[in-house]
Amino acid sequence: MTAPTTAMFTLPVQDETSAPFWEAAREGRFLIQRCPETGRYQWYPRAHSIHAPHARPEWVEASGRGELLSHSVVHRGNQPGDPYVCALIRLEEGVTVFSRVEGIAENDLRAGLPLAVAFHSLDDSTSLPVFRPRTAAQGIEA
């Protein structure tokens, strides 16, 4: 698989709320949010907790491990670089994220596939998380 270039990805518009997420991503860490009142996780990140709307969520580092929930292989995409795999990934923490799955043949994609986060550096300010099949070192047994 060829290395992705910035041109293949629309850059995210980072803001006050999301700054810690993208900062951590640049260091290769995947953050999610947790409600300080209920202890429940949430994705996507917001300035408030959806479990206790007056509470400000706190950032926690996720395990970066999850499993494939559903996927679609884009053969006619919006951008160059297809085919590519759009996917829903259920993280170990219980939240579902949308990302790409890389490093696996289309025919080997199946629900429940163990995945781990990896990062593409798009430019100085942005590292984009993607997911790849877990290696033995990353704990294939969830």
Partner: protein, 387 residues
């Protein structure tokens, strides 16, 4: 206040165009508005309410689209509604227009739509949630999801959860194509088989090209007024018996595990208002942007059990003579789909209840359902219409 039966659709018009090169969408809307008013025996001077959602790509307008359209038409309406929740906007606007009419805010309301994606030359930035990489979208848009790939996520998970097959999905396209064959205005009228669908190019797995709607230019309009005024007009009134709507999500990460969509909220509200059951529906128009689209609607609306839509379709329930004859004009998969198809579900419901269907006609239909979704199952609106 009980809204059921207080208002009626008294005029309906669908443009027969599928290609409208260099026609501005507002010009096409004007054709449709005049057509619908003529159908009702009303004139433009009678109109005091205007509903439109014309601000997205290839629709001609911007963020103040309803004003732009009113100006173009040459009216100064005192009731307007530009609710834009995607494809079902016009069904939602019909429910809201009914409330406005019933409470005296408006008397004669036009609901209108047109888009010309086949020739539209401007690559103006869209701010819809499927392309905008800020806020919630910053965590998804960089991965370049397509609308079709999101429907693919729904379809793939439905297969995993319930054993739904690509053949069952394909049967949706085959069924509606069989209806389109009878509709002289339908974009695609050549018979197809399940094998044809499966052999067509994969666009976003598991959806093939023939699992996807056509892309046409086109437009349509309906006219609504009070029950009292409807009685004196040209055609048999089609009463709005029930209405329900809901919005839920835009981001892929918020797709629920059980794939439940807001149709599970809009449907029961519409049925309750109308006081009808599923068996009372003689004919249905169910938004079919992709083959999986009406399948999830059938489950959420309660026409079949959770996960049973594949066999429900394969058993022939949606064909003429089946339990729920649907998309009698050929639907979005075969007849027309300029982008937001909800208006056509209303128009075809009206035609079926008047015995004017251009495709297959359900004999003596008395109760119809028009159901739409918006975006990627982001919103839903359901209307029960009756004569």
């Amino acid at each position: 206040m009980d809204l059921s039966g207080k208002t009626a659709i008294v005029g309906a018009f669908e443009s027969t165009r599928r290609d409208a090169p260099r026609v501005h969408p507002f010009a096409l809307q004007m054709d449709c508005i005049l057509g619908a008013l003529d159908d009702a025996g009303l004139a433009l001077k009678d109109v005091d309410g205007l509903c439109a959602a014309s601000g997205d790509w290839a629709e001609g307008g911007g963020t103040m689209d309803v004003i732009e359209l009113a100006e173009y038409i040459g009216i100064t309406p005192t009731y307007v509604n530009s609710t834009d929740v995607g494809g079902c906007s016009y069904i939602m606007q019909a429910g809201q227009a009914a409330a406005a009419i019933a409470t005296g805010l408006a008397e004669v309301v036009v609901i209108s739509y047109a888009a010309c994606p086949r020739w539209w030359p401007l690559n103006t930035p869209s701010f819809d949630p499927f392309v905008f990489p800020a806020g919630p979208g910053q965590y998804e848009i960089p991965y370049a999801p397509t609308l079709i790939s999101t429907y693919g996520l729904f379809a793939r998970r439905h297969m995993d959860l319930y054993g739904t097959t690509p053949e069952q999905l394909a049967q949706v396209a085959v069924t509606f194509r069989n209806h389109a064959i009878q509709n002289p205005h339908a974009r695609l009228r050549k018979p197809i088989t399940v094998d044809d669908v499966l052999a067509s190019p994969m666009i976003a797995s598991p959806l093939h090209r023939l699992d996807c709607c056509v892309v046409t230019d086109g437009g349509g309009a309906v006219v609504m007024t009070s029950r009292e005024r409807a009685r004196d007009l040209k055609k048999k009134p089609v009463y709005l018996a029930g209405y329900g709507a809901a919005v839920a999500r835009t981001q892929n990460s918020q797709i629920p595990d059980d794939l439940k969509t807001p149709a599970a909220l809009s449907g029961p509200r519409a049925f309750a208002m109308a006081g009808v059951t599923h068996d009372d529906i003689d004919v249905a128009q169910i938004y079919d942007a992709f083959t999986v689209t009406p399948m999830l609607a059938l489950e959420d609306l309660g026409f079949c059990g959770r996960g049973e839509s594949g066999s429900f379709v394969a058993d022939g329930n949606l064909t003429l003579g089946g339990r729920l004859p649907s998309n009698t004009d050929g639907g979005g998969l075969s007849s027309n789909h300029p982008g937001k198809r909800g208006i056509f579900t209303l128009i075809e419901s009206v035609r079926q209840l008047r015995g004017e269907g251009p495709g297959v006609q359900v004999p003596d239909a008395k109760v119809a359902m028009a159901h739409g979704l918006g975006g990627t199952f982001c919103s839903a609106a359901t209307a029960i219409l009756a004569v």
